[in-house]
């Protein structure tokens, strides 16, 4: 067992080291969420006005944008395994005494750590867009962001576990990540949209993550996901995300071990 822990730490350590050295990547994962926040905020903000009592469009969108930063960073962890395979470094890892399962777990832990750092930086924007934030909010957010980023890293790794080229990964990213992003309630509440859209959104684990984060910021009355007549609270949603994460990560580890 100790070898699994050593593996997780060594692999996560390298992910962090790379993150620190790779400045462009650090900024690129912020760019898209911030562009969305500014452009959609300016574009729809005046048109929509109040989303719900006391919540304007930017305030509604901001928690989702925070989750989007985490989504981008986490799923990109999958590309790191494709990258390692393509550039040969994976061989160095596979021929070492490190545990195979630990390698993927380590990648997920590394990605989650990076995602949380990125998320924390995004919190600086909260006061600018008039979203209330205090120590309690931050402490409640941490476990949520951790669960969400581990789960989404699991998804990224599942996609990357067998992929041989980065081009292939990019294509799958477009096909999986963009729909996941738009069907997650970042930009519009999923209650009151067409039924097919609502069903797809409810199948998307990101939806639950975003709804929970939004409730932390704006209060439980903004809860927007109802499953079988039950309005999902913060803890309910966190459990859904965690379960999805366990499925993704287990499948990723299984697929990776079978392959190599």
């Amino acid at each position: 067992m100790s070898i699994v822990f050593r593996t997780i730490w060594v692999i996560a350590y390298r992910e962090l080291l790379r993150f620190v050295q790779d400045r462009p990547r650090m900024f690129s994962s912020f760019s898209m969420p911030i562009i969305f926040l500014i452009i959609f905020g300016a574009g729809f903000g005046r048109l929509i006005g109040q989303m719900m009592p006391g919540v304007n469009y930017i305030q509604f969108m901001y928690p989702g944008i925070l989750a989007m930063t985490v989504l981008m960073t986490s799923v990109m962890s999958g590309v790191s395994i494709v990258w390692d395979r393509e550039f040969g470094f994976l061989k160095e890892v596979l021929v070492s005494p490190l545990s195979r399962s630990g390698v993927l777990a380590g990648k997920a832990v590394g990605a989650a750590t990076i995602a949380i750092i990125q998320g924390a930086i995004m919190l600086v924007l909260a006061p600018i867009v008039n979203v209330p934030i205090n120590l309690g909010t931050v402490l409640a957010l941490l476990p949520l962001l951790l669960i969400l980023s581990l789960a989404l890293s699991g998804l990224g790794l599942l996609i990357g576990a067998r992929m041989r080229s980065q081009q292939g990964f990019q294509i799958v990213m477009q096909l999986v990540i963009f729909p996941m992003m738009f069907l997650s309630g970042i930009f519009f509440p999923i209650s009151g949209v067409a039924t097919w859209l609502e069903v797809l959104s409810k199948l998307n684990p990101v939806t639950y993550g975003i709804d929970a984060i939004r409730q932390v910021f704006l209060g439980t009355e903004v809860a927007g996901v109802t499953v079988f007549g039950h309005t999902m609270g913060i803890v309910d949603s966190a459990i859904v995300v965690a379960m999805a994460g366990v499925v993704f990560l287990t499948a990723a580890i299984w697929s990776f071990n079978k392959q190599e």
Binding site: R18, G88, K91, E92
Partner: protein, 323 residues
């Protein structure tokens, strides 16, 4: 003691039988060469020995551990340098080595002096804080050798250690390897398709189409050719071939207009041959056999350097360009 024992290794990939029953053993402290053309099964054999592939049949032990049943012990006790670079380009040399040290669980008080020793030996200490994407091909290879040795393995596997390097760098790498062997009493198992490089090995296994066709010391392999190699060029090579086969009872080969054959005691043969041969000779030469001749004699074919997989080279170049 034998550090590697392989018996009847077989590896099939679907229909393709890449390794067809290879057996050999490597002694402690020797440089063992695995020589053969590309596609002969060299890398597959290395991958089986270092636990990256499971053999379809047969058995192998490395440092006394079974490569199928005791994989993590095998991994802990060997060092490996792959054919293609396996470094993290975005990290520095030092960071790459530290990663390796942590992965193999080397205690810090052992790791730091060892890291310095190896980087100094490979003349990379001054560049230790440089990122790998600023390194040349030869520097990368040296760093990989240093990394392969970091955890004090008893066997070092080198898969085509000088592939794609210029001749000067290749010679340099060989100096390091000889130096290493003296210092660490380490067994080195290496594959190569460069005949001249195989001459650095204590013993050589020649592998062709997944089988070992010979295994011996360099001298014995050369003696097996049957004497010295004479090469001649005449004004009528066809007639000369007929004469050599008929009258002289030799087995001549012809390539690029030069006829070559082996005779025992070449120095004595040469004067008699020159005065007695009926055709006009344009040139004549005598030399000791090389591994090239050994290979030709054993397989009936030439091992050629253009056999370096051209696709692979293109891939490597594309990779280099990307950085």
């Amino acid at each position: 003691m034998d550090v590697i024992e392989a018996s009847n290794l077989v590896k099939r990939f679907g229909e393709l039988e890449a390794v067809k029953g290879v057996s050999f053993s490597v002694k402690e402290g020797e440089i063992f060469g695995f020589l053969g053309p590309n596609g002969a099964g060299k890398t597959t054999t290395i991958n089986i020995l270092c636990t990256l592939l499971k053999p379809t049949d047969g058995q192998a032990k490395v440092n006394g551990y079974d490569v199928v049943k005791e994989r993590s012990q095998v991994r802990q006790s060997i060092g490996l340098v792959f054919q293609e670079p396996a470094l993290d380009d975005y990290l520095t040399a030092e960071q790459n080595l530290r990663f390796h040290g942590y992965a193999y669980g080397i205690p810090k008080n052992v790791l730091e002096p060892r890291l310095k020793e190896l980087l100094e030996m490979m003349e990379l200490w001054d560049r230790r804080k440089g990122k790998i994407n600023t390194y040349s091909g030869g520097m990368k290879r040296r760093l990989e050798i240093a990394r392969g040795l970091l955890h004090h393995p008893r066997v070092l596997f080198l898969d085509e250690p000088t592939l794609g390097l210029d001749p000067q760098t290749r010679r340099h790498i060989w100096d390091y390897i000889h130096d290493l062997r003296k210092r660490e009493n380490l067994a080195i198992f290496m594959t190569t398709h460069y005949m001249d490089e195989a001459e650095n090995c204590d013993r050589i296994a020649i592998i062709d189409y997944g089988r070992t066709v010979a295994l011996d010391t360099l001298e014995k392999l050369k003696d097996g050719v049957g004497g010295d190699v004479i090469s001649v060029k005449t004004e009528d090579n066809e007639e000369a071939m007929r004469l050599l086969e008929g009258q002289y009872k030799l087995k001549p080969d012809i390539e690029n207009g030069i006829i070559s054959f082996t005779v025992p005691h070449g120095e004595e043969f040469l004067p008699k041959f020159v005065s007695g041969f009926p055709l006009r000779l344009l040139s004549i030469g005598l030399r000791r056999p090389t591994l090239e001749d050994v290979f030709l004699k054993l397989t009936g074919r030439n091992i050629r350097e253009q056999e370096v997989d051209s696709m692979q080279q293109m891939k490597n170049m594309a990779r280099m360009r990307r950085h």
